[in-house]
């Protein structure tokens, strides 16, 4: 396709490709993708003979292992947690239980689609797999020839991403980005690394079940259904642990908390510094631990000297006595205390420093490697299936992220920026493969994303659903759902190492294919067949399992295998010296790494912009029954919640004369108006200076029949992005909205 404006396909009008050879695509699969004989027969509770297949969930990324039960007709009846799995203890969350809705969704992508240019707008035409794969392979190969392999970028998430990562590295491109880093967890990982010498990782090694005090800062366990954490929080509640929640909104966790600190948004660092102040100046720390395991205590003590609770009160609106009392609660519980690192932490642009402040607080309290604090996780490594060495790319994501010295993963927004010729430097991105991530609902500042999508020469999208991103694709490949495919072995770091298997429970519906197959087909078409030396991915898994002393057959019956720990106790003994990979080998209260890079070695509080009169800070979060925009069209889950609402304090509603249930449009500080209206929820659970909505709604693709036009996409409202100078995280909480009762006419599209 020549370099031309790629318009957005509103309704993917379908014309059937003339040359499409029906059925031929299935022949491309030379091995059995699906073998129904492998399921294990079990008796249902009603005495019916059911078959069950092991899987691990893909509805979110906690990856709980479970069993897929098929009814007598071979339909998927239910999905139940695997009782041996440490991620779920036999209990899936609503999304995992409702994962069947992902499979049964009639709106699924059913066949490959190719964009066809028409005078009155582009349309998608149904295509065969050969046509679609050939087209992508030739485009990518052409761009490789013309600009070099790194100009083809991969933007991905989840299990399919892994298969394409292999393809891209074999192809010679490491221009790879994942929104899970710069848009989500990245800042806390680098803040943690600067303090403890390593990432927190997922699942977080928080020993919540044995904690005496759990501190949540904008982290809403219970609304984020990170399964084992929710289960452990319930255990902690049972034991009467003290929970302290810092959140401008009374989150579900806040309703379970002994202390709810409805902080003024953007002032968390002030609170954290004041907590440090109290712990240090009230001498609530364990002096022996500080002496033995930390570096830079005296510097920190001096640094926080003036950050008294009274000082913090002025910024945070949290009363000094509450700050003192909560600091004492933490110290009394220490070391069985967790100041949770949070998960989506890309808020204000100083997020690495906030992550650092949280890490420092944990360092002061001595919770690292302690029962009730953070356990020492262990995982088992899955051997790499043999393949030729990856070529060394001429440039890669690191070159795009070079302004951010601590970036440890591709920054999606930088890959996107490098796709706009006028913005890109010497390294230009010319084509994308987008797999399993719905960029328009993930990447803030839609104008840049749109520009990039229009500028790149070619976009291929792999997804199971007609997400918004699909509307921008040149070729769309329908991936089958996680219930219909093999994927890589799940090996997770937990208290004990474990692995889990995902195998197909059903033959893929429609003309959809597993990502490993798509990657292999593309690889073979681009002369990379050596990297895909197998007919079926089950061969890879079997080989890996054999190396680990198991087998595919064993795992097909067990689903999950737990291994004994090899690294000893998950906790340090009393008085034992903590071993870390920081420069000093100790917990760096004063970061030598940040100091060397010219950043503040200890967190400082900076005031962030506040909303103008009539504007309110936009805060977004999660609902327990949804995983962002992935699930908003899932019948089982949209049945529980089919739209988001705008949480608003009754005072705010009063000022505006709004009533509960009324619909409004939002306009942000840059004049961006929401595409759809949103219903107001008038609630005392919200601060008056902010409004809140659940992320992931407001789909603009009409092909999503349940989700289209339901609610607002908070991402559309986020145009002011504060980039974290340390690692490139995109701070998204500095956006303010006001309300419109009607959509101005010129804004209507």
């Amino acid at each position: 396709m020549e370099k031309s404006r790629r318009n957005f396909i509103k309704v993917s009008a379908l014309g059937v490709g003339g040359a499409m050879a029906l059925g031929s695509s299935w022949n491309l699969v030379n091995a059995s993708v699906f073998d129904s004989s492998k399921g294990e027969e079990v008796l249902s509770s009603e005495g019916k003979k059911l078959k069950r297949y092991p899987t691990y969930c893909e509805v979110c990324f906690w990856k709980c292992a479970g069993w897929v039960y098929l009814d007598e007709e071979g339909g998927i009846e239910k999905i139940i947690g695997n009782e041996k799995d440490t991620h779920c203890e036999g209990r899936l969350c609503p999304r995992g239980t409702g994962g069947v809705g992902m499979f049964s969704d009639p709106d699924r992508l059913k066949t490959p689609l190719i964009r066809v240019k028409k005078e009155d707008g582009d349309i998608f035409q149904e295509a065969s797999w050969e046509e679609a794969l050939d087209l992508i392979a030739s485009k990518f190969s052409g761009i490789k020839e013309k600009y070099g392999a790194p100009s083809v970028a991969l933007l991905k998430h989840g299990s399919p991403g892994k298969h394409f990562e292999h393809l891209f590295k074999a192809f010679g491109s490491d221009t790879i980005g994942e929104p899970a880093y710069a848009q989500c967890r990245g800042p806390r990982e680098e803040g943690w690394a600067a303090t403890f010498g390593g990432w927190v990782g997922s699942p977080e090694p928080t020993d919540i079940r044995d904690t005496k005090c759990l501190v949540l800062i904008g982290s809403h366990i219970g609304e984020n259904m990170h399964n084992s954490q929710v289960q452990e929080m319930a255990q902690a509640i049972d034991k009467g642990s003290c929970i302290i929640t810092v959140d401008p909104r009374m989150s579900t966790a806040a309703t379970k908390s002994k202390y709810w600190l409805p902080i003024k948004p953007s002032t968390d660092i002030a609170l954290l510094l004041a907590w440090m102040h109290v712990i240090i100046y009230d001498e609530l720390y364990d002096a022996k631990h500080i002496e033995q395991n930390t570096h830079g205590f005296e510097e920190l003590k001096k640094h926080v000297q003036t950050f008294t609770p009274e000082w913090a009160y002025g910024h945070t609106t949290i009363k000094p006595d509450v700050i003192r009392k909560t600091a004492h609660e933490m110290a009394n519980a220490a070391p069985a205390v967790i100041v949770h690192p949070g998960r989506h932490v890309a808020w204000y642009g100083d997020d690495t420093q906030r992550g650092r402040a949280i890490a420092i607080l944990n360092g002061l309290l001595g919770s690292w490697g302690k029962r009730g604090g953070f356990y020492l996780k262990e995982s088992i490594s899955v051997p790499k299936y043999p393949h030729p060495k990856y070529p060394h790319p001429k440039w890669d994501w690191k070159d795009l992220a070079k302004d951010y010295p601590m970036a440890k993963m591709g920054l999606t927004q930088e890959v996107i920026r490098a796709s706009i010729p006028s913005e890109a430097g010497e390294h230009q991105v010319k084509a994308w493969l987008v797999a399993g991530t719905n960029l328009p609902k993930t990447i803030p500042n839609k104008a840049i994303l749109k520009k990039a999508m229009e500028a790149v020469e070619f976009i291929a999208v792999v997804d199971t659903m007609p997400m918004d991103i699909v509307q921008h694709a040149d070729v769309v490949l329908p991936e089958c759902t996680y219930l219909e495919r093999y994927d890589g072995i799940r090996s997770a770091a937990n208290r004990t190492p474990s692995i889990a298997l995902r195998m197909p429970a059903r033959k893929p519906m429609y003309d959809s294919k597993p990502a490993w197959w798509i990657a292999k087909q593309l690889g073979e078409r681009m002369g990379l067949g050596d990297y895909f030396n197998y007919n079926d991915y089950s061969e890879v898994i079997d080989w890996q399992l054999q190396q680990m002393g198991s087998s595919l057959e064993e795992m097909q019956h067990k689903g999950v295998k737990n291994f004994p720990r090899k690294s000893g106790s998950p906790y340090y003994q009393d008085g034992e010296t903590i071993k870390l990979k920081t420069n000093t080998g100790k917990i760096e209260l004063y970061s030598t790494e940040l100091a060397a890079l010219g950043f503040d070695p200890m967190p400082v509080f900076t005031k962030h912009p506040e909303p103008d009169p009539g504007f309110y800070r936009l805060i977004y979060g999660r609902a327990p029954m949804h995983t962002f925009s992935r699930t908003s069209n899932n019948a089982n889950l949209s049945d529980l919640m089919d739209t988001n609402s705008l949480w608003m304090n009754p005072k705010t509603a009063n000022v505006w004369g709004f009533s509960a249930g009324q619909e409004v449009y939002l306009k942000n500080q840059d004049g961006i108006i929401s595409e759809f209206p949103i219903k107001i929820r008038v609630t005392e659970r919200m601060r008056w200076d902010s409004v809140y909505m659940v992320h992931g709604f407001g789909h603009s693709n009409r092909k999503l029949t349940r989700a289209f036009g339901h609610g607002i996409s908070d991402t559309d409202m986020i145009t002011n992005v504060s980039i974290d100078p340390i690692m490139g995280g995109t701070g998204m909480r500095g956006n303010f909205v006001t309300f419109l009762t009607e959509k101005p006419e010129e804004a209507e599209s």
């Binding site: 209990r91 239980t97 309703t255 029954m625 049945d639 919200m686």
Partner: protein, 177 residues
């Protein structure tokens, strides 16, 4: 033998997993539910009390639905479980009108439907689907007459309430508060 349920409102996060698990276990059609989550918010910011509850048929001891049913389709079986026989239900909706908990609905195939306490599972000694799936373990099920059952133990040392006891129906679902 008297089946009952205790639900810990202090642990329930309102995730509605119980609702999905019930839908898949009992083939409840999309758009309907046999159990649901209610949230109540009291107070004024920042002094706010929130209660989250998983609700369903209360399997009342003095069941108005059974009393009002003209055909005997609604009936009580051993253990106090209130059931509806679809082939005996004429769909007059009298039971729906009679339920203070609005726990019944008309199934798209015509008969009235509601929570069965998963009696097909309970018969085999299993827990109800909602109990087995709850990520916070906030649902306790069992025989209220057996002092060592999960539900009796849960009720033993905690304060609890029932919903609308003043309706006089003798609900068998208790909320730990």
């Amino acid at each position: 033998m008297r089946y009952g349920m205790a639900i810990d409102t202090l642990k329930c996060v309102g995730c509605a997993d119980c609702v999905v698990a019930c839908q898949t276990e009992n083939k409840v059609p999309i758009g309907y539910c046999r159990d649901w989550i209610t949230e109540t918010v009291d107070g004024t910011y920042p002094l706010v009390e929130v209660e989250l509850r998983s609700e369903r048929c209360n399997h009342c001891e003095n069941s108005p639905c059974v009393r009002c049913c003209p055909t005997g389709a609604s009936h009580i079986i051993e253990g106090g479980i209130v059931l509806v026989t679809p082939e005996a239900c004429i769909g007059c909706s009298a039971c729906i009108e009679s339920c203070p908990y609005d726990a019944r609905y008309t199934h798209p195939s015509g008969h009235v439907d509601k929570c069965t306490f998963c009696h097909h599972r309970v018969e085999k000694g299993l827990n109800t689907a909602c109990t087995s799936v709850c990520p916070t373990h906030c649902i306790y099920f069992g025989d209220l007459d057996n002092p060592r059952s999960d539900v009796s133990l849960a009720l033993k040392n905690r304060k609890y309430k029932a919903l609308a006891p003043e309706a006089g129906t003798g609900p068998q679902i208790f909320y730990l508060i």
